[in-house]
């Protein structure tokens, strides 16, 4: 059994917290876990990718290579598309419908592709995907920084590998005291966002 997960986003969106929770979950399940963060050089604003490799066998490279990922989590449109070729076309993606324009986009010097164009390209690449308004929900719940826990909630619904109660427990355990209640709420609401028939 193996589960390769890539989480993509913009610095500040909480990739690292999400990857920590996923890694701990897999560790608790007695799997091998190895991963890496490519966080560039800054806390925020840059492109951030977390690789999490879970397996019952030996894992060598901490990085997932082309076509190997079973699950691709996009906290932001363009950042997911930047790394979509890591995803096995038979895998699953989970996208937060959030656009964070780049500096050159803001300056009017570069085009940020339209949502429909992006979604078409994603659907063409991989048939199994979910697009959710996680940031909008997080903002409604009081803090856009809860996007990551909303995404984790949705992820648990989408991927049978993850157990709702155990991941929820880890979200709580890894949150600072002041944010525990809100983060657990965000996780629960994220779970409800996904409707699977």
């Amino acid at each position: 059994m193996k589960m390769d997960v890539v989480i993509t986003g913009v610095g500040g969106q909480g990739n690292i917290f999400a990857s920590l929770v996923i890694s701990q979950y897999a560790m608790n399940k007695k799997f091998n876990v190895l991963g890496a963060e490519t966080i560039g050089a800054a806390q925020r604003g840059g492109s951030v990718v977390s690789h999490i490799r879970i397996s019952d066998g030996t894992i060598y490279s901490p990085l997932i290579s082309r076509g190997q990922a079973d699950l691709l989590v996009g906290m932001e449109y363009v950042e997911m598309m930047r790394h979509i070729r890591l995803l096995n076309p038979k895998g699953t993606y989970l996208l937060n419908a959030m656009k964070i324009p780049t500096v050159l986009n803001n300056m009017g010097l570069d085009e940020y592709p339209g949502s429909e164009e992006i979604l078409q390209a994603a659907r063409k690449y991989c048939l199994h995907g979910h697009v959710i308004e996680a940031s909008a929900l997080a903002k409604k719940l009081g803090n856009i920084q809860m996007t990551n826990v909303v995404m984790l909630g949705a992820l648990v619904k989408v991927v049978p590998f993850f157990d709702y109660r155990e991941v929820k427990w880890l979200v709580n355990a890894n949150s600072p005291e002041r944010f525990k209640e809100a983060n657990v709420k965000g996780f629960e609401e994220g779970y409800k966002l996904i409707k699977i028939n």
Binding site: V10, G11, G12, S19, M27, N32, V33, L34, G35, A36, E37, T38, I39, G40, A41, A42, Q43, R44, G45, G46, I52, I59, Y60, S61, P62, L63, S65, R66, G67, Q68, V78, E79, M81, R82, I84, R85, L87, P89, M98, I100, P101, T102, V103, L104, N105, N106, M107, G108, D110, E111, P113, E117, I118, A121, K124, Y125, S135, A136, K139, I144
Partner: protein, 524 residues
């Protein structure tokens, strides 16, 4: 470097990380050349976080045994990896530290040694270091970090550190196993290498980053009269950049064309992906002082020497403010150098507080001592924000988290005899006035732009400004782009068709700095 000549008592392990590919640092250099070739010290090159952990312990043990400094040289993919590490129990009954004077070793000076017929001490210590190399070679021959994995054919692979890991990753896509030598030590295990290459016609070496082991192989083969072709990073494998699975597979298809590759194919993507350069956080106080500096620099045709830290993104588009960025603490000396060289323009040096305490303080002292007319701006956010909020001497907290006395910068400036002005970076007008005054003044000056890091404060539930809802009045906005080009908050973007800016309420945190940047009062 002296400690290689003196050696040590107890154990000393030097950890120097390299960043192949320049993923998050200023250069793509190879520590092994400096530490092994130049200083003749042994190195461990880990292939995984777990091996790095084991190597540190062994390096300490061996350092104590050999009296030599040992070096661990992990690359980015080891340092930034997250994995399961198995710990052992801590050793019990550790000896109590004591110091035994040994002036013949630990006073490194060009003094005559009567015992050695009057030869100078550095030469005798050099002899000592050279004699240690035989001992090291014996140790590395037996090391658990070098091993051979059997395979078919006459083409052998050599994986050093992360190079080994990537070869193992690649094996799943190959239809046969090639003989593989895993290396994790310098000096190299010469006998093991000789055994490995028996019957081979060619070896391909994967190492980060310079063709260093490759060069040592060629030397060994020449000395041992071994006729095996050596290929590696002197050109056969790309000579720059990070090794990755693709590099390994592409190289193997050239070096061993008979081996079949079965890498998964994925569809191509027909979509324009904009490049994302980093910037300061939305709400960051640096944006206020950088904007004030940008205005001042434009007015007076100034030059800004930059430094390492969150503020360095001010050198990228759209601000394009700092003209130089080198290593930590380089801003003030470079600015000083420009002044001394006779650049007849106002010169500024922008440095963050963590970098200032690390090394920048010396540059300021030198500028003060030599009365160099450089205007230093200290971005005092009271923490090492860029790398994850480590404390520094201005934080008031020790590394262990205990309270301590922070450096008092105004008192420091007073003792240096230079003028200083403390400003609030969320008050652009105040910053502008202080910068104007500094430009007009002869001699070195210091502006302390003081406000805790927004990101850390927010995490701690502390407010550095009163957030408010920010709106653009489209009637007043004329699309002049000042709020974008001279400020560059990620929440503000231009609509090219309407020639109006808008603020994304999902991204904006309400610091209201942009309202002060807009000259037309269109943002409030």
């Amino acid at each position: 470097m002296h400690v290689n000549f003196t050696g040590i008592r107890g154990g000393l392990v030097l950890i120097s990380a390299d960043d192949p590919g320049g993923l998050s640092s200023q250069n793509e250099e190879d520590t092994r050349i400096l530490v092994h070739q130049y200083a003749h010290l042994p190195i461990f090159d880990p292939c995984s976080p777990q091996e790095a952990k084991a190597m540190v312990k062994e390096a300490f043990d061996l350092s104590e045994r050999t009296e030599l400094v040992f070096c661990l040289r992990p690359v980015t993919r080891v340092c930034h990896a997250r994995g399961i590490i198995e710990f052992e129990d801590l050793p019990k009954d550790l000896p109590v530290a004591h110091y035994e004077p040994d002036r013949e070793r630990f006073i490194m000076s060009a003094v005559e040694m009567p015992k050695f017929g009057g030869l100078k001490r550095p030469q005798i210590r050099h002899r000592w270091l050279n004699e240690k190399q035989l001992l090291l070679q014996g140790i590395m021959e037996e090391s658990a970090y070098n091993w051979i994995e059997k395979g078919e054919g006459k083409i052998g692979l050599v994986g050093c550190g992360m190079g080994y890991t990537l070869i193992k990753e690649a094996e799943q896509y190959l239809d046969q196993r090639l003989p593989l030598l895993k290396l994790g030590t310098l000096p190299l295990p010469r006998k093991k290498i000789k055994g490995f290459v028996q019957g081979l016609e060619r070896v391909v070496i994967f190492e980060e980053t310079e063709p260093f082991v490759e060069g040592l192989f060629k030397r060994i083969f020449q000395e041992e009269k071994i006729e095996v072709e050596v290929l590696g990073r002197s050109g056969f494998v790309p000579a720059e950049g990070e090794l990755n699975l693709q590099v390994i597979l592409d190289t193997l298809s050239k070096a061993a064309p008979r081996v079949k590759l079965t890498q998964p194919q994925v569809p191509t993507l027909d979509l324009h992906i904009p490049i994302r350069t980093r910037t300061q956080c939305v709400g960051c106080n640096y944006r206020g002082i950088l904007n004030a500096l940008k205005q001042t620099v434009r007015k007076h045709k100034g030059i800004v020497a930059g430094d390492i830290g969150c503020h360095d993104a001010g050198s990228f588009r759209p601000m394009e403010l700092q003209s130089t960025i080198y290593c930590m603490g380089s801003s003030v000396p470079m600015g000083s150098g420009m002044v001394l060289a006779g650049v007849n323009r106002p010169v500024f040096a922008f440095i963050g507080d963590s970098t200032f305490y690390h090394n920048g303080i010396l540059g300021l002292m030198n500028a003060a001592n030599n009365k160099i007319n450089v205007n230093v701006i200290l971005g005092e956010n009271t923490v090492t924000a860029m790398t994850g909020f480590q404390p520094h001497p201005g934080t008031g907290v020790t590394l262990a988290g205990e309270k301590t006395t922070p450096v008092n910068v105004p008192k420091l400036a007073e003792s240096l005899g230079i003028s200083y002005r403390v400003v609030n970076p969320y008050d652009i007008k105040q910053c502008r006035e202080a910068l104007e005054a500094a430009v007009k003044e002869e001699g070195p000056s210091l502006i302390v732009s003081s406000m805790p890091c927004y990101l850390l404060s927010t995490r701690r539930g502390q407010k550095v400004f009163e957030p408010r809802e920010i709106r653009v009045d489209p009637e007043r906005c004329n699309g002049c782009m000042i709020c974008i080009n001279d400020f560059g908050c990620p929440a503000i973007s231009i609509n090219k068709d309407q020639k109006k800016v808008s603020i994304d309420s999902m991204i904006c945190v309400g610091c209201a700095l942009c309202a002060d940047v807009c000259k037309r009062g269109a943002i409030s």
